[in-house]
């Protein structure tokens, strides 16, 4: 599903906006302005935005902000949000204590 994406396509300059200080990623406290600037730094996919800014990398793992980030990036690139890749999801679905993750039940153990 890779599609050729010329990263030097002109998307216009970064224009500051009055709501640039609006917090978008609640966990990592990333603002709309930071996200928009990152797009102009060349971060054109949600994966790159995440790696560059940490949006969606906090405790909730993007469960709250991923749709918001997507729409901001899409608008900045002037594409439809559906054109951007689906947000990555990784194990574990919820934060899990190391001692529990480490503690694998034996084959014959059941939960009863």
């Amino acid at each position: 599903m890779n599609s050729v994406n010329d990263r030097n396509r002109d998307i216009g300059p970064f224009v500051p906006a009055p709501d640039d200080d609006m917090l978008i990623c609640r966990c990592e406290e990333i603002t709309k302005g930071e996200i928009r600037k990152a797009v102009h730094d060349g971060m054109w996919t949600l994966t790159e935005i995440r790696r560059y800014l940490r949006t969606g990398m906090g405790l909730c793992q993007g469960q709250t902000c991923s749709k918001l980030v997507k729409s901001i990036v899409a608008r900045e690139l002037n594409v439809s949000p559906a054109e951007l890749e689906p947000a990555t999801s990784r194990v574990p679905m919820r934060p899990i204590e190391m001692r529990i993750f480490a503690n694998e039940a034996k084959e014959d153990d059941d939960y009863e």
Partner: protein, 377 residues
């Protein structure tokens, strides 16, 4: 597409490809970077544990990585205008038994021969440096000039800075083959049907480098394995050092953000499979957690928020392959980084750029030649 010709084409938008592009652009060369996936820095460059270390390396790689730590890393954040989160607070390579001690001592002796400040310390001294380490640790090699950085911002920082200098980046452009013209590398053909042309081509595409180099009759013997890392929630500050082990089965550090990034192995890495993208295996993360808790009992309650996998390209001798391919003029490579390509990455990019621009390098790359692999008898 407008102009598919440049002085240099870089195949692979990882930390090496991006840094090469940056240093080439800085020297005024025109560059096109072709990244096969949809994301810049999508391979090992953004999936590794962030070590920027010299200790524990094969002596053939040492001069190059020491060059980078001396000349490039210290000012990288300012230069790229991105926080690379570089910390030079030392590396503890941990051992638990006599066998480990022997491995570490050998490595340390060899490294000292190359002029690196690294020494063996006992368990007590280890815990003076890092009081959270358990009693199981009985020795370590200690290299105070090692450290760690954020692989994500570093890799993307090189991309950002190179792009700003005019390097052209194209993602989703998977390279299928190279073509020579009159004996010299010239054309780069992609899966999308595009052709790019340059006088010089750097192949820095991880394991995918092998078939690309193969298209002009060059083979670098390598295999790949699916390695895994995990990251915790942000925790209160504990320590600054980079950690590793004698058997290289566990490594990690606490990031600026407060989270701990740890990597480790289940022993099954070369046999893991994926589903098209590198995914984690159900067995690995629990095993890494058990490993971490042996070293850091205090982290038992830290919560893991994410695990991930990444393919590592391992050369036949576990040492990077870097430099010009003499048989095909104009062709250069950096591949088979064998799981330690991040810390050395900027230096590789820098030296390849210098080589292409001037024909010379500050560091002798010949020990890392592509054609060094020989049969055992």
């Amino acid at each position: 597409m407008s102009n598919n010709t440049a002085e240099v084409i870089v195949i692979g938008g990882g930390v090496i490809g991006n840094s090469a592009a940056y240093y080439l652009a800085q020297r005024g060369l025109s560059v096109i970077v072709l990244e096969g996936s949809d994301h810049i820095g999508n391979g090992g460059s953004s999936r590794n544990g962030g070590g920027v270390r010299q200790s524990g390396r094969d002596v053939r790689e040492l001069p190059l990585v020491m060059y980078g730590i001396k000349n490039l890393w210290p000012h990288l954040s300012e230069e790229l205008e991105v926080d690379c989160e570089y910390h030079q607070d030392g590396n503890l390579r941990l051992g638990k038994n006599e066998k480990h001690k022997e491995i570490l001592t050998n490595l340390a002796n060899n490294a000292r021969g190359c002029g690196l400040d690294v020494r063996m310390i006992d368990g007590e001294e280890v815990r003076q440096i890092n009081p959270y380490l358990s009693e199981e640790v009985t020795c370590a090699s200690w290299c105070p000039t090692d450290g760690h950085a954020n692989p994500l911002t570093t890799t993307l920082g090189f991309y950002k800075a190179a792009r700003k200098l005019g390097a052209r980046f194209i993602s989703g452009e998977k390279v299928l083959e190279l073509k020579t013209v009159k004996g010299r590398v010239r054309k780069v053909l992609t899966a999308a049907g595009n052709t790019y042309e340059a006088e010089n081509v750097i192949v820095a595409a991880g394991f995918d480098s092998r078939p690309i180099l193969g298209s002009v009759g060059i083979d670098v013997p390598m295999t790949r394995s699916l390695l895994e890392c995990l990251v915790t929630e942000a925790e209160p500050y504990m320590f600054d050092q980079m950690l590793g082990t004698a058997e290289a089965d566990f490594y990690g550090h606490q990031t600026k953000h407060g989270s701990f990034v740890f990597g480790g192995s289940s022993g099954l890495e070369p046999f893991n499979k994926d589903n098209g993208t590198p995914v984690s295996s159900a067995k690995t993360a629990p095993c890494i957690c058990r490993g971490i808790m042996k070293y850091f009992p205090d982290l038992a309650n830290a919560k893991i928020v994410r695990t991930w996998g990444g393919w590592s390209d391992k050369s036949a001798d576990g040492v990077a392959v870097v430099g010009a391919i003499d048989e095909v003029p104009g062709l250069y490579t950096s591949c088979g980084m064998s799981g330690h390509g991040f810390g050395i990455g900027p230096a590789v990019g820098h030296q390849l750029a210098q080589l292409i621009a001037t024909g010379t390098t500050d560091v002798d790359l010949s020990p890392l030649r592509y054609d060094r692999f020989k049969a055992k008898i």
